[in-house]
Symmetry: C2
Subunit: 392 residues, 2 copies
Amino acid sequence: MQNNSRLTELRHEPPARRRAIAAESFGLETGALDAFSADHGLTVEQADQMVENVVGIFGVPIGLATNFIINGADIVVPMATEEPSVVAAASNAARIARQTGGFHTSSSSPIMQAQIQIVDVSDPDAARLRVLEARDELMDMGNRQDPMLVSLGGGMREIIARVVQTQVGPHVVVHLVVDVLDAMGANTVNTMAEALAPRISQLARGRALLRILTNKADLRFARAWATFDATALGGAQVVTDMVAAAALAHADPYRAATHNKGIMNGITAVALATGNDTRAIEAGAHSHAVGSDGRYTSLSHFEADADGNLTASLELPMAVGTVGGATMAHPAAQAALRLMGVRGAAELGEIIVAVGLAQNVAALRALATEGIQRGHMALHVRKTLSTADQEK
Amino acid sequence: MQNNSRLTELRHEPPARRRAIAAESFGLETGALDAFSADHGLTVEQADQMVENVVGIFGVPIGLATNFIINGADIVVPMATEEPSVVAAASNAARIARQTGGFHTSSSSPIMQAQIQIVDVSDPDAARLRVLEARDELMDMGNRQDPMLVSLGGGMREIIARVVQTQVGPHVVVHLVVDVLDAMGANTVNTMAEALAPRISQLARGRALLRILTNKADLRFARAWATFDATALGGAQVVTDMVAAAALAHADPYRAATHNKGIMNGITAVALATGNDTRAIEAGAHSHAVGSDGRYTSLSHFEADADGNLTASLELPMAVGTVGGATMAHPAAQAALRLMGVRGAAELGEIIVAVGLAQNVAALRALATEGIQRGHMALHVRKTLSTADQEK
């Protein structure tokens, strides 16, 4: 057991041998990653229990991103994606970052929010205050919906009430602020919202309409940052150019959309491989990418540090879970979590953001140097992990 | 061959039989949908040719959404998703819409844009004009990169040049506006951008940095609209409430994120099942969801018509292809296109938007009536297509 994420031998091996090498390298039993194989993955019968009218399975390639060090630990990251060069690009940036200690991460508490929309309210401002005056009662009522969550240390954290002016009049919108621990949290907060809606309607003297989570999970952030050695990137001019490339993404929505899409190439691939809801994460990320000036902008920040190296950081809402949903039901998602040694949702979210940042750095480096198409072609010709990075 | 998308018998059959029924119903040979089965889908060997360091396959359930009529034609839609109730919800809304003629669609020409960023320009406004003065030369140069595209009727359509103020100074940003026909278009426009960058740098008397498409594909729209009978939805109050629910999504970014996430539940599932790049479509949709007032807002519009029925419409950037990329390489993606009888990218994009709209209507109906959680539980208990709708 080497517990080292470089695994340079992987590229020369066939997929089955790669599974064995990765399992052995991280102390797992032989066969621990068999759920990635065609014969031992999700069956059509299992799929038939997950969604409706099932006719089969759509297979998405899983590749292993190598070289990652995250908070001091070597991690190999399974990525599910159909897009060429994404796995190679993440591995490439992670190889450069490991020279300077790899990625560092942090995250907020796993807070999700549900919204309860109250319509037909005659005095919305007064209604809002009446709801807030019942804060403690509502918090208790919410917590009673999920005693298990509360016993584990999660549960209701706050009640927020707003008046929103809409095209059909003012609505009172009440937010339930809930610590969901290691779940994605949608079911938890939706159940609470439906349970509290009658009482909140009564308090507001109105009628409850929508009762559902918001995917703009902007109280649940994960962050990653890393330093990239200037020489390893290609020299001081490459650092300057990557900062200039990031500046355009900051200023121009047309560039920001593709800059962020490159980030999501990494994030969505790990989210999918772990059975998480990629639409939720995409909605959280992009809805957060609107700056205070109302311009759609980039999610990451690049700058040159005092030594001339590149420091890059990324923060975004990260509603992922390691319990519940497809994560539990899907054998390959379970194998993915085991390979990464993930112990909870916060750790998973931070790995995901680190991979998104690696993808972003790799893409901007390629774009600021050889260009995407040339990198692509080199990759396809050489079929090795030593080359191209990408975003498209 | 019934060529009818209702297929009410599907829900009682096992997956293999569902494949046979769907194939037969749409005039395909027996076995046409075998690529959806565990034994005949994407192999690990094929996956190993698509991305790097492949260790296997992540299987995503494929369910068939029934009941769709789009522009007068019955269509059964394969959706790849891990999320319960999504397939049922789309089918449910499509069942209501078919009473009033189903979905109608249109789309713009398939225009993609690449950006070329020019830095180190001493007089950006003058540089911009020099680039535009060479418009015809640059158009010819772009077209010479892809004679096949031009011979089929596509190619360069315009050159746009902008001056963007960034944190590191003003940059000249040149857009290549290209009709990419039935491709997603990333490779096409990236190749053109890399080829034209040296000449544009020379004209601008600066240096080319980024040369890549924008995923904010706001010259490539697909649209869908439909009418939903008030009685079938549950009555006049349900229509009023769905309009009020949509009004909150218009006004409030927290609600808009989840409203749009529900739309993307449908859109991403069809995009994935046809081998398209879901990150590109998510980035295009969400970056477009910023209103002129700088607020993140909803992508769809709901209103009551003169008869009291609900009319709903959806428009978003739709960068999908039916040639190139994983769509060609993936056997299940090919089977999905055959089942829908899709002849080109515009038709596929319009089907995708119709499914997104169906998903949105189903979610808002569920939210405005029984609530998501109750719908969910009913679905899981009854396991039929007659119940719950969802968005989370």
